[in-house]
Each structure stands twice: as C-alpha cells, then as structure tokens.
Symmetry: none
Amino acid sequence: MDAIFEATIQLLTRPGAENLTTTRVAERAGVSVGTLYQYFPNKQALIYALNARYLEALAERIEATCRAQEGQTAKNMLKALIDTYWQAKTERPEVTRALYRSVADLDNTALIETFAHRVDAATTAMFSSASDTEFANLAEVNLTLVTVIFGTVRNAFERGLDTDAADGLHGQLLLMCEAYLSALANA
Amino acid sequence: MDAIFEATIQLLTRPGAENLTTTRVAERAGVSVGTLYQYFPNKQALIYALNARYLEALAERIEATCRAQEGQTAKNMLKALIDTYWQAKTERPEVTRALYRSVADLDNTALIETFAHRVDAATTAMFSSASDTEFANLAEVNLTLVTVIFGTVRNAFERGLDTDAADGLHGQLLLMCEAYLSALANA
Amino acid sequence: MDAIFEATIQLLTRPGAENLTTTRVAERAGVSVGTLYQYFPNKQALIYALNARYLEALAERIEATCRAQEGQTAKNMLKALIDTYWQAKTERPEVTRALYRSVADLDNTALIETFAHRVDAATTAMFSSASDTEFANLAEVNLTLVTVIFGTVRNAFERGLDTDAADGLHGQLLLMCEAYLSALANA
Amino acid sequence: MDAIFEATIQLLTRPGAENLTTTRVAERAGVSVGTLYQYFPNKQALIYALNARYLEALAERIEATCRAQEGQTAKNMLKALIDTYWQAKTERPEVTRALYRSVADLDNTALIETFAHRVDAATTAMFSSASDTEFANLAEVNLTLVTVIFGTVRNAFERGLDTDAADGLHGQLLLMCEAYLSALANA
DNA sequence: AATGAATGAGGCTTCATTCAT
DNA sequence: TATGAATGAAGCCTCATTCAT
C-alpha cells in the first residue's frame, strides 16, 4: 500500500501530462490493478487517502512543534510555527505542488476540516500557554495567523518564487506576524 | 463566445465535479460543438481563456484601485487593496472556487506570471506614491503584502469560513498589514 | 476551378499527414468552401474530377504518341509507348503517388475503364499500322503490352526505386517487350 | 487477434468504402473496442499489422516456391514464380483488392521494403541455381522480372479483367518473360 | 454568384472498473 | 488473495456540408 502511494506520487510528480490512471499506478507500484482495487474501492479513494496521509503527517509535525513550544514566548512560537510549515511544504516542492493539484477533482472538505481542527487545537493550546502574552481573542487571532501563514505559503508556491525571493518572503512573513502580535498587545 | 464562457462557468460551478465536457458546454451555450471548436482549438484552451479573462478583469480592477489611491496614505492604500481583492473574490464565491479548481489541469504559469507582473507594477507604483511613507525596500515589501493578501484570501476560501469568521479575518488581515508597515517604519 | 485542382494536388502532395479537407482545399485555392461546393457537389466528386482530368491528359498524351508512330516499326512504337508513359508518370512523381493514393476511397472503375478503352484503341490502331509486323492476335498482344508496361511502372513506384535502378528497369522493360514481339513473330 | 484480423478483412471487403471503424471491427470480431486497443495501439497499427501478416504469408509462399525450384531450368522457375504469385493474388480477389486499397493511408514503405528484400533474396537464389542458364547481371534481371510480374498482376486487378482475359494475360506474361530470358541468353 | 460561420453525426481513443482464473 | 485481460461508457475532436447573408 505504501508502494501504491509512492507510485501515485511519482506519477503525479512526473512532468509529462500523462494522466494518472489506476493501471499506471498499479504497474509502477509493482502490483496488478486488481490488487490496487483491493486496497482502494476506486480511484478517488486512492487520491483521497493519499491526501489524508499527507495531511495527517503534516498535522503531526505541527502538533509536535506546538508541544515543543509550550510555555515559550509568543515570538518563538510564531517562528517555530512558520518555520515548520514552510519547511514541510518546501522540502519536496514537486510533491506539494502535485498534491495541491490532485485535490482538484475531489471533495476534500472533510479532509481540510479535520486538518484545520487538529491544527487549530494545537496552535490554540500553544499560544494560550505563551509565557509573555495573554490573548484577548485567541480564537480569532489564531485563525488569522494560521490562515495567513498557510495561505502565504501556498501563494508563494503558485507564483513560483525563486529561492531568494522565497527566503525573503519567509522572513517578512515572520516580521509581519510579530508586528501583528505586538499591535494586538498594544491595543 | 461570451455564451460559451458563461456556460463553462455554470458547469464548473455546478456540483458534480466532472461535468465539464465540451459537448455539455456547447449545449448549454446554445451552440454546436463545432462552433465551440471554431473559437477554441481544444478544451484546455477554453479553460485557459476563461481564466485569462477572469485574471484580466481582476487585474484591471486592482489597477483601478491603485490609480485611485495615488498619493494617499499607506494605510488607506492597504485598506483599498485588501477590500478590492476581497470583494472581487467574494462577490461570486462559487465562481472563484470553480476557477481555482479549473486551473488544476492547466499550465497556467504564464497566466499567473502576467497577472503577477501587472499587479506588482500597479501596487508598487501606488505604494511608492504614499504621502506618508517612504519604503526602504519597496520591492520586497510589495511582494510580501501582495502574497500575504492573495494567499490569505485563497486559504480562507479553502477553509470554507462562514461569513462572520471571514469578516473577522478580513479585519484582522488589514490590522496585520498595517502593523507590518508600522513595524517597518519604526525599524 | 483550376485553382481548386491545384490546391488539391498541393495538399495531397504535402508530406504532413494533414488530411485533405474541403475547407483546406478551398482556403489554399483562395476561394470559400461555398464556392468549392458550387463546382463540385461533394468531396468525392472533386477527387474524381481530379483523377479524370489527370487520366484525360495522360490519354491524350498516349494518343498523340500513337498517332505520331503510325506506320513505324513495332520496335519504334514500343519504345515510344514505354518512354511516353514512363516520362508521364515520372516527371512529377509526388503527384503520381498522390493520385495513386487519392483513388483509394473512390469507385474509379468507370474512370479506369474509360481510360483503358481510349488507350487500347490508340495503341491497337498504332500497332496494327506497324510497317514490319502483322499481329495474329492483336487484341491479346495489345492488352498484354499495355498491362505489363503500366503495371511495371506502378510497381516501380511502389518499390521506391532510385534513379539508377529505375533507368535500368526502364531499359530492361523495353528489351523484354521487344523480345516478346520477336517471339510472337517467330511462333 | 485472428478474429480481429478476420473482421477487418470482412469490413474492408464489404462494398461501401468507408466502413472500417474500430468500433465496427471490434463488434464484428466479437470483442470490445477496449480489447481491440489492447492488441493494436491505434487503427493504423491494425491495418499495418494486417498487411504485414498478408505480406509475410505471401513471402513465405514465394520462398517455398523458390526453394522447390532449386536447380530446375529457368523456364520452369519462371512458370512456378508467375503461377504462385498469380494464384496467391487471385484466390481471394476481394481480399487482394481490399488490401491494395487499405494501404492508401499508411506509410507502408518499410513493409514493402521488407517484403521486397525477402522476395529478391529468394528469387535471386533460385535463378542463380538454374541448371540451364548463367545470368550475366542477375540483380538487374531479377529486379526486372519481379517488378514486371508483380506489377502486371496488380494492373490486371485494377483493370478488372474477366477470367478469360486474365487467363490469356497470365499465359502471355509467361511467354514474355521467357522471351526476355532467351533474348538475354542470345545477347 | 460568393461567403464562411455554424452544424452535428460519428470517428477514435481512454481508462475506471470487473471478474474468471 | 492476486492477476490482468476484457469491458464499454463516454470524452474529445474532425470535417463534409449547408444556408443565411
């Protein structure tokens, strides 16, 4: 089953516009189509599971980061959160891009929702433990930070920024989020 | 041709992902497939053109906003930019969502690039005319603002935020961007 | 109408597998499809007419040769007939090949028959006027000669013989036909 | 796969030129289109393979004849070669005709070349073993004979000769070829 | 008489899925 | 449980032909 996932990613990643077919996935995974259909009732389920697995791993990573930052300053938390997410999305950019694309013909609402809940819970817990800050409206602040960070990374991908520009943006994003927190504190 | 675009959007909008067939588009547009193919060499070209048209209109709108803000304060500019983009994306949310999705099996790099260039030019020109601020590194600041704003809106869409949450986020985004500019000024 | 014929030949001749479409023929001929359909009731009629025209010209050429050989020796006649046909088929080989191909989806029986009748009449008349030979069974001999000569040329085309081989074959064909006539005389 | 070939021939044979569609072939062969496409990547490949198979069988037949004539007199060889080819092309005339036609939208150069090489090799070997003749320029003589024989048969088909005329021509062709060999010997 | 946009039947091909082995 | 040949619905696209202007 991991072989199937790997094969799917490889095909999704491949530049050639050769579409992702179940036969091709099975072939590359070294199993028969029949076997593939033993694991996944249909093609959508495969792509769905692939994304679920990816988001699961991503959520875990974020949760780990959040746990590790328990009790730190808000600034440190921010940096850790941004760095983790940025790193996760950037280390295998083609995979990131491929998954972004694969999701198009999928109703991934549930997936996103689950992921969002987990992340929101983790980051909310983290921020509420900040040693130096008390958040008046944590829910809204948290939503804002998470949405801005995740959205910015995605948009950076879409623009196809080169490494320099991406690094610069990474730094500026941190700056901006810090400024946001400062502004909230002074309000 | 406008009828064809409209039909495409309608089908893209309709639930049931894979409804977009050239035959169906033609049918709904009230023309024959042959006619459709007289305007667009193939299906991809149709989707491409649809997105081009959309981004064209969006760019124009942003440019208009930028022109109108010439010489204003940076804060006003920020608000105008965010409001315009938010409004543009929000007024027909299903269309926005549909186009986001439609782009998946398309090489829209060129499209994005053209759009980005136009927007960057317009916002850069706007910010450089700010009556109250001098930007040390306008290019980077501009890229940051644009990427953050656009990315946040997209992510908000993906999360399927309800109106209240969205409105709140909208406000917080403005706040954050303002805080960013203030922080830059005080640096 | 000549422009249309010319355009058809050009498209038929072109290497690209681009198929012969009425629209393309009209375009290249510098007229509208509508006009093309004023001259030819349908596509087949066009191709038919093109072949008719070609065979007409070829028949005329053969008839002229035959008339010119009236009263000559059989050997001279043979040489003149072979040379004329060979020359006619060889001077624009792509055209020859294109027409051979174009005929595939056509019922050209009538065309061939008409052509065959004309040629048979001409060659029969010629051979019967030979100063040095009396043919016991002129009809059969004539059919044999004509079929062999025409068939050989066609087969030479199909094999794609190079110039040297083709020239050699041309000479040998003459030799063979002469030997045939001699053999008949000695029988 | 044989069923598919048979179906193709049947459809090719049927009057009404343009009957050959992949769907129809599959239907008549009693398989699904999908299956057809498992054997042949596309329609052209099917027609190509059909011709390849036909020429393969024809070549084998000619080779067998040539082997059987090893050491015979040249006259006997000639007769055997002509009879074999004539017979092969004549026993199922509609098939012959259909294949001649089918080849029109095909690049069959390679096919013809392979066939020609095989036949040339076989007939050359045969003629060089003739008990009663030494050929000064075997290559040229062989090419001439083969081209003349094959071409004549094809042309006879095109003319749609009735049985009597065809039989007569068959005899005369043999006569002519024999005369050719005699002439060469006396030169 | 000429135009050429519009038509739409129908061809080729793909690919998710099944099921007998 | 694994296989993979077979299926066939359905998509994309072409192109001969028409007809309003």
